[in-house]
Amino acid sequence: MRAVTVVGGSLAGLTATRALRDQGFDGRIVVVGDELHTPYDRPPLSKEFLAGTQSVDDLALTTPEDTELAAEWRLGRRATALDAAERTVVLDDGERIVADAVVLATGARARPLPGPMPAGVHVLRTLDDAVALRADLVPGARLVVVGAGFIGSEVASTAAGLGLDVDFVANGAVPLERALGADVGRFCAGLHAAAGVRLHTGCGVAGVVGSDRVTAVRLTDGRELPADVVVVGIGALPNVEWLAGSGLALDDGVVTDSAGATSLPSVVAVGDCANSHRSYTGGMLRLEHWTNAVQQPVGAVAALLGRVHTPAPHHEVPYFWSDQYGHRVQFAGHRTPDCQVEIVEGDPAAADFLALYLDPSGSPVAVLGVDRARSFGRMRRRLGDRLTVAT
């Protein structure tokens, strides 16, 4: 193998590039990324960076050592097509990059509300999004956060900390209901309430009011919430449209096996754009987790190079964290709707606890910790060991 093209110049793309070199590949690597920025870390965009306690420099993912990767970066250039037979990536300016293998790491983008939006309505996925939003988060301003997933929850938390007046619109009964379940969602609702954030549950958004600039958000129950700023956090869509017609199997992302191999030889997909088979669940999952984007490329690159890679069992357990209202929430495993939650340490009322998600047979399939990093870490490993026993 003499040349590899990596499409997507962010966390998974950079990690794949490092993994190629770590695993001994000394050929040509071209990294194509449609953002102008060198790779940066996204999690702080809704946390420290938005709060103003981290700078752009703090977000940098690359280190001085990365110059030794000797990769050719094509930043600000978008891949528009993949010619799989030739393993050729076509860029927006017509350049065709031919290689022996292709790593797809195009991530995901924020899902917008339909239709044109007045100024003051934001999504949050990129550094540019975060810079624009931060400029609008002035103390005393009225912020409406639409969508009670992780981005919405963290933005509400950060904005409340900055002294904004926050309304939080959730279509479920509690925030994070889908990810964490109703019990833990109720705990999260309590965190918002304690910070003075008004939670509006069980309703959606009927429309955004304002001609030049947003003035209100109209809810499906007919109410209007006055707004100076709106953040829409209603999920993310995988950036895979450009791959239509390439012959790749696509289904909510690029379909891959557990190592990241796609339906086409010498093409792998990793990170937020990959809908992969997961040995932990035995099914397909597209994970939008930082840790997945740093672990999956290592195995995918090994597969490309024909090397054997056996991930540590606990790396097979999906994991993410979230920071809200000064509390660190960590989750590992996979929750199904029929899980029962059992508090095994601490007390949710004190915002300090460890909870297990038990499947109908009573065995733990996921763990959640709030400010309990040590016991969380142990339970995360035990979930991984469970996998070793099961297989």
């Binding site: 280190t63 001085p64 740093v294 660190r328 960590q330 040590r374 870490g377």
Partner: protein, 116 residues
């Protein structure tokens, strides 16, 4: 010197946190004691809460691994080393001597531009 506790207070494979000029984590690994700065150099996490494997601790947040003997990270996401501190045991009691300066140290091969 910072008093840590009795040797018997830290079971093998465990760590305790003490307060120096910054929080310091003291680890017990197979009969040996190591002291390093407790806060991960990547973001905000306590290494005393991490997973100890051999002579390294894995950060509980994003899994950067630090060598307990040198403080050096084995790779991303951490870029900088944590400080290490001398551990003194006398009469079964553990004391830590905090390294004087909060001098930044970098992984081998890191460019001088990191000092900026």
């Amino acid at each position: 010197m910072i008093y840590v506790g009795a040797v018997s207070d830290i079971p093998d494979g465990e760590a305790v946190k003490v307060q120096g000029s910054v929080p310091i984590a003291v680890f017990h690994v197979e009969g040996r004691l190591y002291a390093i700065d407790d806060t991960c150099t990547h973001q905000d996490a306590s290494l005393a809460d991490g997973w100890v494997e051999g002579c390294a601790v894995e950060c509980p947040l994003h899994a950067a691994c630090f060598d307990l003997r040198t403080g050096l990270p084995s790779g991303p996401p951490a870029k900088k080393a944590v400080r290490t501190h001398a551990v003194v045991v006398s009469d079964g009691e553990i004391w830590v001597e905090e390294s004087v300066a909060v001098e930044p140290r970098f992984p081998v091969g890191a460019g001088a531009s990191e000092h900026a």
